[in-house]
């Protein structure tokens, strides 16, 4: 082979080898480039992953709080099993409020279902007055399980129904009561959180705050408080006769006056408590006791005369006058000496005597009732008070006797006096002599010219001819 050919051959082989090596090098480059691309991608993913991971503690905190809060939601809203108790709960509310449920129906779902919350609606028909209705609503709306009243329709009781005092006020009330059943549909197993208990304990404050924010607003309903039912016509009937009823304004003025007197009595009580010295204390006690007796008398008079027909006035009279006086008496008795004082006993005795002389035995008995429970606390060593207490008991006996005697039918038809013989009285058509008893146990004590003295339960009653 010539040199030239040799050269060409060697050159060719060299070039071929170089080309092969070049190819290999290119392939390496490709692989390296791919690997570097993978590296860049991994670095990017890792950076993003780290960014996400940095937010994990905050998210864990939020999820821990929400898990605890979810328990509150489960307490606020019943699950399907507890729904069967719903009707029993309403029945309990009926008993507690005094209202009467006359119809109860479950209304089918309205389609307004909110995710994990299924609405349940009951339609109720009720009978009762406004305050019973409010008591019922309050029980519904303040119950630990969420309930609401989205619809109310009330028709006031007719005036004719109100005239039957035994029936009570019965408005017709038609309502819907709705609640939601909590049944998580999109549930998943809770994610495991490292040191969950410890982390939860650190977040108790925040959890409590969030739970309170979910708490349902409740209202403190304090009952009728002496107010009139606005669905009852407050106008008073105008009656013809001897004692026309007071107008509404007059009734309000009367009650205002009585309330002012009770306030004055309270002022006297305050003076009694603040009295400096025995003399001042005794003066304040006497004035207070007189005030208590006279206010008590007037209360009885007003009640007897049934002067109050306007509901608001009646309620205010009961709450602020009658109960106010009773409370004041009770407080006074708590701080004063055991049993009623001598001055109070004398005031009561004097009042009872006056009432009996006027034939007002009911008022006399009312005076007695005002201190009957305290009479037994009069100490036996206090002879003065004991004497007055005994007189009061005698006056009470006389009032009882008077009350019973008034109910007896005793008609004196005639009186006969013959010289030399005993006088005869014709009573209820029967001839009676002195010392004889009527069939009611009344003794014919003495027969005068125009009147007869009867003795009943130790009390002498005089009745004249034709009385």
């Amino acid at each position: 082979m010539s040199e030239k050919k040799k050269s060409l051959l060697i050159t060719g082989i060299g070039a071929l080898l170089a080309a092969i090596l070049g190819g290999l090098i290119y392939m390496q480059h490709q692989k390296i480039t791919e690997t570097e691309t993978e590296i860049a991608s991994l670095e990017d993913q890792i950076a993003k992953g780290l960014e996400i991971i940095a937010k994990t503690p905050e998210l864990e905190r939020e999820v821990i709080i929400q898990r605890e809060t979810d328990e509150v939601i489960a307490e606020i809203l019943p699950d399907a099993e507890e729904l069967t108790d719903f009707v029993r709960t309403l029945r309990k509310f009926e008993e507690q409020s005094g209202i009467r449920i006359t119809d109860i129906r479950n209304r089918p779902g309205t389609g307004d279902q909110k995710q994990d919350f299924d609405k349940v609606v009951y339609s109720l028909k009720l009978n009762g007055d406004a305050f019973q209705m409010l008591a019922f609503f309050n029980l519904v709306e303040s119950h630990s399980r969420f309930m609401s009243v989205p619809r109310i329709r009330l028709t006031a009781a007719q005036r004719s129904q109100l005239e039957d005092a035994n029936a009570g006020i019965r408005h017709e009330i038609d309502i819907d009561v709705e609640t939601y059943v909590y049944e998580p549909k999109s549930g998943s197993t809770p994610v495991r959180i490292e040191n969950f208990e410890h982390k939860r304990n650190l977040l108790l404050g925040e959890i409590s705050h969030r739970q309170q924010a979910l708490a349902i607003e409740t209202y403190e309903y304090r009952g009728p408080r002496g107010r009139r039912d606005p669905w009852v016509d407050p106008r008073i009937p105008i009656t013809e006769g001897d004692s026309p009823l007071l107008t509404i304004e007059e009734q309000i003025e009367l009650v205002d006056g009585m309330v002012a007197r009770v306030d004055d009595a309270r002022r006297l009580y305050a003076e009694f408590l603040a009295a400096d010295g025995l003399v001042e204390e005794m003066r304040a006690r006497r004035e207070l006791e007189e005030a208590l007796v006279t206010i008590g008398d007037d209360i009885l008079r007003i009640e007897q005369a049934a002067q109050l027909s306007f509901v608001s006035a009646e309620l205010r009279f009961g709450n602020e006058v009658v109960e106010g006086l009773a409370m004041l008496r009770s407080e006074f008795e708590g701080v004063s000496q055991p049993g009623p004082s001598l001055e109070e006993l004398q005031a009561i005795a004097g009042s009872m005597r006056t009432h009996l002389q006027l034939g007002e035995f009911e008022f006399a008995l009312g005076d007695f009732e005002s201190l009957v429970e305290r009479l037994e606390h009069v100490p036996s060593y206090d002879t003065e008070r004991v004497a007055v207490a005994e007189e009061i008991l005698q006056l009470k006996n006389a009032a009882d006797a008077f009350k019973e005697f008034e109910e007896f039918e005793i008609q004196i038809d005639g009186l006969l006096h013959y010289e030399g013989s005993e006088p005869v009285a014709v009573i209820n058509g029967i001839s009676m002599l002195e010392g004889e008893f009527l069939d009611t146990g009344v003794l014919v004590q003495s027969i005068g010219a125009n009147e007869i003295d009867f003795l009943y339960r130790g009390v002498t009653f005089s009745k004249s001819l034709r009385q």
Partner: protein
Amino acid sequence: MILINLLPDEYKKQRRTPVKLLLAVSSGVAVNASLIAWWCWLAFGVRNAAELERDVLTETMAGVDPQVAHYQSLERENRQFTSREETLGSITQSRVNWTRKIDELIDVINKGGGGKKYLVWLDNLDISTAVDTRNETYGKLVAKAHSGSRDFAQLANFLDDVEMADFSRGFYPPAPPEGQQREPDKTLSPSEFWDFTLQVHLMAPEQRLLATAGVDQ
């Protein structure tokens, strides 16, 4: 021509490799040797380093992935809870405490002083909380009412008190007073009276919250 060299060896001329051939071979060897070196450097140096780095990052990623999955699970759970809370919030916010409202209305009616300011009573009560977002209505309270006086101004007194009272929080103001005087009933005192309608419309739940927030504080 055939050349035969019969000279003894010591007299023969020395024959050397041609320069071109030498250059060609040298160049070939040099280039190929360089290429081989380059390839070795790439294969055993750069590529190994890159693969090593890739392996390290892959391991790192293997540690990050579970934590990211943990975060995503927490996020899903968080979304569910948030959605429930929002739904519960909308349910509770939309509720009106009618015990409070009716109690406050009764307070206003009783404030009339038995006729000195007004004497009002009602025949009925109709409450609805139906929402109509298109017309922006959220419920209303309607009652047929009476004012027991010949003086129509008492009706205005009553509506003034309604508007000023806590009762009106959460409602739009009532319509201006209008009514109709009825035939006097001589059997009752007061005998003269007016008929009118008490009607108030509920605000949207968000507005109600703001309106009543001041009361609770």
